[in-house]
Amino acid sequence: MAAASSSSTESPKTTTERRGIPGAQFVEDVETYLTQTGFDVNSALAFLQERLQQYKLVEMKLLAQQRDLQAKIPDIEKCLDVVATLEAKKGTGEALIADFEVSEGIYSRACIEDNDSVCLWLGANVMLEYSCEEATLLLKKNLENAKASLEVLIADLQFLRDQVTVTQVTIARVYNWDVHQRRIRQIAASSTSKDS
């Protein structure tokens, strides 16, 4: 989405764009807005509808990203759990016996000896060996980053939803103003025809 230009002079009422999402301009008065932009009612409505569609597209994208992150965070927490368990077992000298899934429905037993290191899957077919402390640090850092990204994403979504609401309200107001104008014209026309 192209970045929008900077805000007009009425800055408290016009939110500028945020990370590529254009802000929806709040309309004080429908008539002034239409004369300022030079739109007639139908073009204004079409423009606002198109904006709404663009917002919806971005919202879908952000929601998908949010779902991914929300799935990633419990995964990282599970890994931290496992590393913590291994570290706890380190002192005792006994091996950890665990059943793990070999294939769907088929499990096998593993005997995990006392170990100082774990291997972490970093993605892209890469796996690296780390000491338990380093692994814990790395996983904690990843967890922090994921949580921070999620917060930024949620803030983006809130901003986006606000812009969607403003645009929907503006569409309703422009439409109502048009209906009101037509009614006035109709009354004026019928009264002139009655007079003549």
């Binding site: 709040f26 368990t85 665990a98 793990f100 606000d162 109502n176 009101h180």
Partner: protein, 128 residues
Amino acid sequence: MILKGTGGSETEVTWEDQQNINKFGRLNNRFHELEDEIKVAKEAIDNLEDASNELILTDEEVVRFQIGEVFAHVPKEEVETRIEEMKELNSKNLEKLEEEKESVVAQMAELKKILYGKFKDSINLEED
């Protein structure tokens, strides 16, 4: 939530009204998210309850306890302790979520009063 005009209504929408409407929308979204989260938390607590009941019934010394993706062989007492801890954590989490939900509902009721007061029929703030 829909904002629909009954056509010809003269009520003007000020920036403050717009901000109230935005806030209501945000609260409504948060309300639905909280409902989902509360459902998940309640399910988790039920599962933990079932697990600890099963634990009391079983006579095995070693229980396979899920850590991450694997089932580790853990002595029964340790599993009991862990499950108790997890139940504590989940209950606290559920309490926090319920509190937040109550606060959100209260704020939404406030905003409804204000917005209906100004716009009366021109605005619809109910769930469809």
